[in-house]
Symmetry: C2
Subunit: 244 residues, 2 copies
């Protein structure tokens, strides 16, 4: 990335690896991951071990590990038999990154909701086509939970989010799941007002969730799209007028 847009002549005197040592280590490990020498679940050597292998100090190794950890490639456990473990599939990090990006740029809540509408409605054809019986059962189970929560007066956006994420999983496309997950993750949580109004809207929202689940069970794409469209539109309205 940083190397793009060079002038001419730059190939004559190639850059003398002036980059950070820790970054070089990160890159090396990334390569190992890419080409399959390291697979999820594997454990990297201990910090003190890596120091010797790379011939650098522990501080440097640790910085490299911090970066890998922040990227979501490894998780680190302390204690005996701890260490850096290649993470099993975790879409959370990149979703979080997306949310960070969204939340710190000049986005209005309206824009986010509009994007959400496109993705969630666009995913419906796949969902209607691919949802398995298990998927549908799970959806109805979440609806019941939501209903129960409403009755108890304990409805939160978290419950709604779980439904939407589970719904996304019905498309059986990890990339899509990830996108929708990041919409419903830290991002929505940061819209405080939306969370506080949740109890009020819970009843109607749950009803719509049920309609959605039924439409999917009936493989009725049109109905699903209609309900989802209204559902999100209402969210949009709720959210937009306070986080302007």
């Amino acid at each position: 990335m940083a190397a793009t847009g060079r002038g001419e002549k730059d190939d004559l005197f190639s850059r003398v690896s002036t980059s950070r040592v820790s970054q070089v280590i990160v890159d090396q490990i990334k390569v190992l991951i890419r080409d399959g020498s390291l697979t999820p679940g594997d454990r990297l050597p201990s910090e003190r071990d890596l120091c010797q292998r790379f011939g650098v100090s522990r501080v440097t190794v640790r910085e490299a590990l911090r970066v890998l950890e922040a990227t979501g490639l490894v998780t680190i456990k302390v204690g005996a038999h701890g260490g850096a473990f290649l993470t099993a599939p975790s879409t959370d990090r990149v979703g979080e990154g997306l949310a960070d990006l969204l939340s710190m740029s000049v986005l209005t809540a309206g824009e986010v909701t509009e994007a959400r509408k496109i993705v969630e409605i666009g995913a419906l054809p796949l969902i209607v086509e691919r949802a398995t019986k298990d998927d549908i059962d799970a959806l109805f189970k979440l609806v019941e939970e939501g209903q129960h929560a409403v009755d108890e007066g304990e409805y939160t956006v978290d419950i709604s989010a779980r439904f939407h994420i589970r719904l996304a999983e019905c498309a059986h496309n990890t990339a899509l799941t990830m996108l929708i997950q990041s919409f419903h993750g830290p991002l929505l949580m940061s819209l405080r007002e939306a969370r506080e109004q949740a109890p009020i809207m819970g009843k109607r929202g749950t009803g719509e969730h049920r309609e959605l689940a039924e439409a999917i069970r009936n493989r009725d794409l049109a109905a699903a799209q209609r309900v989802m469209s209204e559902h999100i539109a209402r969210t949009a309205q709720r959210v937009s007028h306070e986080v302007e």
Copy 2:
């Protein structure tokens, strides 16, 4: 997030902030960014300064900075008047994260392309509706550039990506632009084969780009959707059979 799904009783003995100090610092700074106390372009205090303010050692501060850097929130410059500068939101990091996940075979190229299809086609209604004259001129300009590159035999995926990103901007929704940008960033670049085949496909791709631009000029949504659909489908085909 980590606090969800607790058992009962947990509120009696609250967790004694056993987390990493560096992580706490990261969170603090993230908060400052979120609530607008720090805006892009600002410079954080120097490492030695931060040590004193937080009352920790320099190593710890540096680890926090590594994380913030990896997350793409700051860039770091050395030398006098260097330091950590808040970056303007850039989608590259997210795209890189996507690419990492893809390379760990958490995601297949096919899934990503499917998601891309949904977003890019879903954005078309907005694009057709909102594209201004400037937008359309810019699109045609990019098409011309592409045509020129094809004639010279210098067509690269980069040119195609620029078109798609500019197209996304026509929707005048920053969130959408960012999503599509992260698809066309380091992610596509990492599909080496796709890059190498680019020259061959360039001619046809450019033709389709032109058709797209024309459809948008004519506010012909159906045509735009048809062309885009074919366009991405072909990419999907090209990409899927080697990165299985």
